[in-house]
Amino acid sequence: MRRWRELLFTLTMAAVVTLPLYGGGYLLNVSNLILIHMSLALSWALLFWSGQLSLGISGFFGLGVYTAALSFVRAGIYPLLGILLGGVMSGAFALAVGMAVLNLRGMYFAIVTLALAEAFRVIIRNVPDLSGGPEGMVLPSLIFDGDPSKTYWLTLIVACLTLVLLMVVRKSRMHIALTSIRNDEIVAQSNGVNIYRYLLWTFALSSAIQGLTGGLYAHVYGFISPEGSFSLELVLLPIIMAVVGGATTTWGPVIGAVLLGSVSEFLKIKIPNGHLLIYGVIIVIVVLFFPKGIMGTLEERFQRDW
């Protein structure tokens, strides 16, 4: 049984890595989007493990987008370095915001993160000389000169690194601390867990991943705008992916991303104006009827940790 699973995993990975060799341009493009959303979903789930609901994915993502793009356009910083810079910027900013607001958690945290994207949008619109203003900006060149295979491998690497990071956290003491914070803060505190410090670093880490992904997005698609880079869809889709797959598990967001990433491509073509509505309906249904998600339900059924 175990050998079969390993074989299946190896085959899947081989198929995913060699995708540019046999897949067409459209398939690669869709896969890029799925992988980018997968990284976002995984990073969101990391924070969710601690019981904090971030509605600010698009804020940190957009900060990464703008950092990477502007450092490239205004200062000529090498794209790969700019992408890293996006991650560092978002992480540092999350650290500052977290220091201010993580003492009050729950709904305060959720709403502050929700307002973050709005705040960034206001700032970007008001410094048009630096940011390109409300119309946005087109980057002079894409990363790797737009080579689809290399771009795909880069997004794959980022998604895989995020997944590995989550697996490492899962095996470490940190996971136990985060889970105990989620279950009962008072019990966690009386067992010596420094809630504030754990939440602060988890928030910074998860936001740094979102910033990194944003930087990647900027260089892969080469276009930035306040509406597109901070759009609500970027909050919604990763959250649904994580929640449908099972936000408390490691593999849940991956499964959810593949599943919903494919569905969302289909929906975008079928109902271009209303696909967000369907995401909203999915969130409500999942929260009401399957709050554990796919992997969470399976976990419970088979009594194991994924």
């Binding site: 019981g51 509605l55 003492n103 305060y108 709005e118 959250i239 209303g274 909203g280």
Partner: protein, 311 residues
């Protein structure tokens, strides 16, 4: 939880400073003061029902502003088909939204009242998306507006000329506040709601029907915000996205006043309304006005957590 708490008269210093500030502002930029008060009226009117909901049931209704947006569309429909004046459609809209709120509550929030807070916020977020995008699908993202003659009513005092119609928002806010206070103090359902807000288990123990109270309060909150939608339509252009910024501001105001403090909402609305108009009055910097509520939320949270740590 003290839903009917009065403003305490202890802080004479703060009162004196703000009165002095207001007088100074009246000399320096009178329009900022007048329009700030009008804006504050709208903010307070929108925030009060959300504060009621948070105080009694303890759920953050992220779809709050979007219910107002729906109310505005309803008023637009009524005025389009029946020629009903938006000011007159406040009451029918409130009745319709009371029922709508009851349906929404039974269908969704009722199931998560005892679930972790995470699930409630996530559910509210999903609901917010459904309302916004549903409206987008039904009526497109085009801005619509109705033209009314009486909204441009103005008054001249000396060299000052200003619009008077927007004071209707101030009146609405005061009316809602007084109505809610009377409801919470004088009626049995209101007193039960206060008890539920204080301690749900205790309320259940003394025989209060908690689920029924939740249902009534949720529906009432939606009814009020639906009615405000009609008022909103009189002066503003509407589109599916107009509600969301008000949700964020309403939450900011509730955090500033403290959850459960209804009267305080009036004062903090004044602060936000006047501050936003002050920034708007500087040419070239008007775009920054939308950042004020965010700065206020963060500042308030920092102050609160410091206070908590000091205890």
């Amino acid at each position: 939880m003290e839903l009917t708490g009065r403003a305490r008269g202890k802080n004479y210093l703060i009162t004196a400073v703000s009165v002095a500030g207001a007088i100074g502002l009246a000399y320096w930029k009178p329009y900022v003061l007048i329009e700030g008060v009008q804006r504050a009226g709208l903010y307070a009117a929108i925030t009060l029902p959300m504060a009621l909901l948070m105080g009694v049931i303890g759920i953050v209704n992220l779809a709050h502003g979007d219910f107002m947006m729906l109310g505005a569309y309803l008023a637009f429909g009524l005025s389009d088909y029946f020629g009903l004046d938006p000011l007159l459609s406040v009451l029918p809209a409130a009745v319709i939204f009371f029922l709508f709120g009851a349906i929404v509550y039974i269908g969704t929030f009722k199931r998560v009242v005892n679930a972790p807070e995470l699930n409630q916020i996530l559910l509210a977020f999903g609901l917010m998306i459904i309302l916004t995008e549903g409206a987008n699908l039904l009526w497109t993202s085009r801005f619509i507006k109705i033209s009314l003659t009486y909204v441009s009513a103005s008054l001249s005092i000396g060299s000052l000329t200003f619009g008077t119609f927007e004071f209707v928002y101030v009146a609405a806010a005061l009316l809602i506040l007084i109505g809610l206070q009377l409801f919470l103090r004088k009626t049995r359902t209101g007193q039960a709601a206060l008890a539920v807000g204080q301690n749900e288990r205790g309320a259940k123990l003394v025989g209060i029907n908690v689920e029924w109270t939740h249902l009534i309060i949720f529906s009432l909150s939606i009814a009020i915000i639906g009615g405000i939608g009609s008022l909103f339509l009189t002066r503003h252009s509407i589109s599916p996205i107009v509600g969301f910024p008000y949700t964020l501001r309403a939450f900011c105001l509730i955090a500033m006043a403290g959850i459960g403090n209804l009267t305080g909402i009036l004062w903090v609305s004044l602060i936000l309304g006047v501050a936003e108009n002050l920034v708007l009055s500087f040419r070239g910097y008007a775009g920054w006005a939308d950042l004020i509520y965010f700065i206020l939320i963060v500042a308030v949270i920092m102050l609160k957590s410091r206070k908590r740590r000091a205890q």
